[in-house]
């Protein structure tokens, strides 16, 4: 029923736009929602205000629809962040330094739901929290700028920019203090069944 509704919305938006191949928020939504899993390499740069050298880290990201995501950093040091619906687990250099239920940390929870919703294309879920501005760049390339409406999120960022084609390729987050975090995703693989190891990490105790 929801699927059918979205499809009819999609058709309607196509008709309205008049251009068969232009991207719309709905078409992006449709595309992202079709992805069951995403695996990608990431490069993260955190430019902290007042420091010269950015903090750069690389690793892989695994996202499994409605299960959660694993942030597996390999450089400059090993770090794994596991986000599943209920918990947040941070392991640094093989040492689990945080393992908490999401409910204990409302800010973290808000962040987690937002990020997961973005990757999964659940814009409906984040509309109440953000003002969304969609921009159709050329060649199937699009950009979405999100500005938080909700008080708790405003404490965290002032703006999030997403760019992508078939999936999100670039993310830029500006936080309240002016620190900017950019993420670039490469070598994206979609809908490949997740390894046992990954599922165990998500479901783990």
């Amino acid at each position: 029923m929801t699927k059918a509704f979205y499809r009819s919305m999609f058709v309607a938006s196509l008709l309205a736009a008049g251009t068969a191949y232009a991207s719309t928020l709905e078409s992006v939504e449709e595309k992202l929602q079709a992805l069951k899993t995403i695996q990608a390499d990431f490069e993260q740069k955190r430019v902290l205000k007042g420091t010269d050298t950015p903090l750069v880290s690389t690793g892989t990201l695994t996202l499994i629809r409605s299960r959660g995501l694993i942030w597996d950093q390999t450089a400059p040091f090993a770090q794994t962040a596991v986000l599943s619906g209920k918990r947040f687990k941070l392991t640094v250099e093989g040492d689990t330094v945080q393992d908490a239920s999401a409910a204990e940390n409302p800010a973290m929870q808000a962040m987690m739901t937002t990020l997961t919703a973005l990757f999964e294309g659940n814009f409906r879920e984040i509309r109440p929290l953000f003002d969304l501005a969609f921009e159709d760049l050329t060649n199937n390339h699009w950009r979405i700028v999100l500005k938080p409406k909700e008080e708790k999120l405003k404490q965290l960022f002032t703006e999030i920019t997403l760019e992508g084609r078939d999936a999100i390729t670039n993310v830029a987050m500006t936080d309240k203090n002016g620190d900017v975090t950019t993420l670039v995703f490469t070598h994206q693989v979609f809908n490949r069944p997740a390894a046992r190891r990954v599922l165990d990490a998500l479901d783990g105790p």
């Binding site: 205000k49 007042g50 903090l55 880290s57 640094v92 040492d95 330094v97 960022f157 620190d179």
Partner: protein, 738 residues
């Protein structure tokens, strides 16, 4: 018998005494010795009652406002409130400067409010450094440059995350959200210490105007307020209204009854004189015995007027029916034994109220004992001087009483009807009679205040003002040590200040320093020069100035060189009653427990008093009359309790005290009927009927009182006395004495 000069001496002494009483009242009454404070009416219970009182007095000075606005209206409201000369301070608006100060205070206390888990984490510096660096790299944690530089241990965010309060700060105001997600701005106003009753009244008038003005701008129900001050004002208004209304009504009805019965102004004047003397002596005695008189007591005292007039009634009746030319002193001589007897039984019954732990009832007891004594002494000492010899005019012929008595003597339909009604009320009522010791059943707070209180409770979470553990210490270190003991014993079941004891602070300080070094070293490796300074220790005043500690400032108290903390109970644990670290206090439960005990003691006492009365009756009047009296009093008890149940009221401590009075007053009727001589039957019946009518008028008036406890008391008392009066001719069925 002639009045000699010597016989005038007691009358003169009595006049001097009454003058002194009037002076006492004139001097003491205007200086606010009448209170309507609900707390003053409650019995003292539990340990540390003085400390409890001090905490409660502080609560008594606080008013909490919730304004459904986020704009100029709330600002104007807070501004005007703060400008009131009676306000010490208003919390709720936070300026940037205050925020800076609070932030500084927070930084100062960070190291002193660590939990055991946090201290354990800090004790592993390498691991702690890993966590910080992990969070710094994590895109999700949002750790900023400035944060990691100023607070490399990320303690501030930990503390802010750990705070779970319904109240939060938004745009410079303290706010809370209701269930519909609407934002309310909160203001905590504290009145100055030691305000007089007039000051408080002036403040209440001011704030009530301010509230209605604000509500006009925001709409009905957009401003909530909560304070015991409001309850007290309502109780005071109610009591004052009741006293004026019921007092006037009682006086008018009694005056009408007197005028109608005697068709002359003299008895009314005499009655007024006697009642006024009673009021003077009773009032002065009560003012001398108690620091303050409760307004509710004064309402109950109104009911004494009807009893006090009885002595005048008996005297006037006796004098009028005496042979023509009989001097007043001779009438008195004849009447004196029964007059004193009637007064003593009533005084004893009222005197027993002094055993009640309710200050209100104790005051009533003192007032009644001296008031009735005063009224009776005026009759005994002054009336013979004011009244000439009897004119032998007799009494108006009232057919009602003799006819009623005759109906009983004939065992006519009327007598059986009365008995049947009493039996029916007893049977129907006693089946559904319930007993309660619930304090809330004594006085119903006005619905609008209760509704606001509930709305505020919904905004802020649980009410934490009922149950406490009070800990004490000779100094800060000792008290904080007790807090540590309570924390390890009860954890989250108590609301405790996060400030650690000096001992724990010392332990935390060492871990803090090591972790700080490790984190700084790790951050230096990635090019971040972190600073930050963690004060290893904080004092109580540092803590109370910090945002987390400020809410606790009302829970600390310094009294006579000892420091106290009242920790509100979040979830009760039976072990709290036995903890060595503090005294468990649950005022309402303790008072109710005490009332329960008292109620069972009183029931036994009532039964014992009943048997004692019957025993003394048995020796004086024999078995038959004793049986009759037992029936009359028993019926008075059951009918009054039955009527109570039928009125939908539960039996409580006030009902039992009323029963004691039913015993004390009801026995008088039985005594009179036992004395009934054939030749004087009509005049005695007239006096008796009139006395009963006046008593019933002033007791019955208590039914219209707005205080539940007084209404309960009045209902049992008036129905009981009415039953005793109506059924006392039953004694004629039980044969004559001899």
């Amino acid at each position: 018998m002639r009045l000699t000069d010597r016989s005038r001496i007691p009358a003169l002494i009595w006049a001097a005494l009454l003058f002194a009483a009037a002076l006492v009242i004139a001097l003491r009454l205007p200086a606010e010795h009448v209170t309507s404070d609900i707390l003053a009416m409650l019995p003292k219970a539990g340990g540390m009652s003085e400390v409890q009182d001090a905490f409660l007095a502080r609560l008594n000075r606080q008013v909490l406002y919730a304004v459904k606005d986020e704009g100029a209206v709330r600002e104007g409201f807070a501004q005007k409130l703060a400008e009131s000369p009676y306000i010490e301070r208003v919390r709720g608006r936070i300026t940037d400067e205050e925020k800076r100060q609070a932030w500084a205070a927070l930084q100062k206390t960070l190291g002193a409010v660590l939990t055991d888990a946090q201290i354990a984490k800090l004790a592993d510096p390498a691991r702690y450094a890993r966590e910080v660096i992990g969070l710094l790299y994590s895109p999700l944690a949002g750790v900023s440059q400035s944060e990691v530089k100023n607070d490399p241990l990320l303690l501030t965010r930990r503390m802010l995350l750990a705070q779970k309060s319904a109240v939060s700060e938004s745009k410079g105001y303290l706010t809370a959200k209701d269930r519909e997600g609407q934002t309310w701005s909160l203001f905590f106003a504290e009145l100055k210490e030691g305000l007089s009753a007039q000051d408080k009244a002036a403040f209440l008038a001011f704030e009530s105007k301010l509230r209605s003005d604000t509500e006009k701008q925001l709409g009905q129900g957009a401003l909530l307020a909560q304070s015991t001050l409001f309850y007290n004002r309502c109780a005071e208004d109610t009591a004052k209204g009741d006293m004026t209304r019921l007092g006037t009504l009682s006086a008018v009805l009694l005056a009408a009854l007197f005028l109608l019965s005697f068709r002359s102004l003299t008895p009314l004047g005499l009655g007024l004189l006697s009642v006024a003397s009673g009021l003077l002596l009773g009032g002065a005695a009560a003012l001398l015995c108690f620091k303050t008189l409760h307004a509710v007591t004064l309402v109950m005292c109104v009911s004494l007027i009807g009893i006090a007039t009885d002595y005048t009634t008996y005297f006037v009746c006796a004098h009028r029916t005496a042979p023509k030319g009989t001097p007043a002193s001779e009438t008195l001589l004849r009447l004196r034994p029964s007059l004193i007897h009637a007064m003593v039984t009533t005084v004893i019954a009222y005197g027993l109220l002094a055993a009640a732990p309710f200050p209100g009832l104790e005051e009533l007891a003192v007032f009644a004992v001296f008031g009735l004594l005063g009224a009776c002494l005026t009759v005994l000492l002054w009336f013979p001087l004011f009244l000439g010899p009897s004119k032998g005019e007799g009494l108006p012929k009232v057919k009602l009483f003799p006819a009623y008595l005759a109906a009983w003597k004939k065992r006519g339909a009327v007598s059986f009807a009365v008995l049947a009604v009493c039996a029916a009320v007893s049977a129907a009522g006693l089946m559904k009679l319930s007993a309660t010791d619930d304090l809330n059943a004594l006085q119903t707070p006005p619905a609008h205040l209760k509704a606001q209180e509930n709305a505020i409770k919904a905004l802020l979470g649980n009410d934490l003002t009922q149950e406490w553990i009070i800990a004490e210490g000779k100094n800060e270190a000792e008290l904080l040590g007790k807090v540590e003991a309570l924390r390890s014993e009860f954890g989250g079941k108590l609301l405790l200040p996060a400030l650690r004891s000096p001992e724990v602070q010392e332990r935390a300080g060492a871990a803090l320093a090591a972790a700080h070094e490790a984190v700084k070293a790790r951050l230096a490796k990635i090019g971040i020069a972190a600073g930050g300074a963690y004060s290893p220790s904080a004092t109580l005043s540092d803590y109370l100035a910090s945002p987390a500690g400020e809410a606790f400032s009302a829970l600390f108290l310094s009294k006579d060189g000892t420091l106290y903390l009242a920790a509100p109970v979040v979830r009760f644990d039976p072990a709290m009653k036995k903890t060595a670290a503090g005294v468990y206090v649950h005022r309402k439960a303790e008072i109710e427990e005490m009332l329960r005990e008292l109620r069972s003691h009183l029931s036994v006492f009532l039964a014992a008093a009943f048997l004692l009365v019957l025993a003394s009756y048995f020796f004086k009047y024999g078995a038959k009359k004793t049986l009759g009296t037992a029936l009359i009093l028993g019926l008075a008890f059951t009918t009054s309790l039955g009527a109570l149940a039928l009125a939908g009221l539960p039996m409580n401590i006030f009902s039992l005290f009323a029963l004691i009075l039913v015993l004390g007053i009801g026995i008088d009727y039985a005594v009179f009927f036992s004395y009934l001589e054939k030749d004087h039957a009509d005049s005695v019946l007239f006096a008796l009927g009139l006395a009963a009518a006046s008593t019933l008028i002033s007791l019955g008036i208590l039914l219209f009182c707005h205080t539940d406890a007084v209404r309960n008391f009045g209902l049992v008392l008036s129905v009981g006395v009415l039953t005793a009066f109506l059924t006392s001719p039953l004694l004629t069925w039980f044969g004559e004495k001899r």
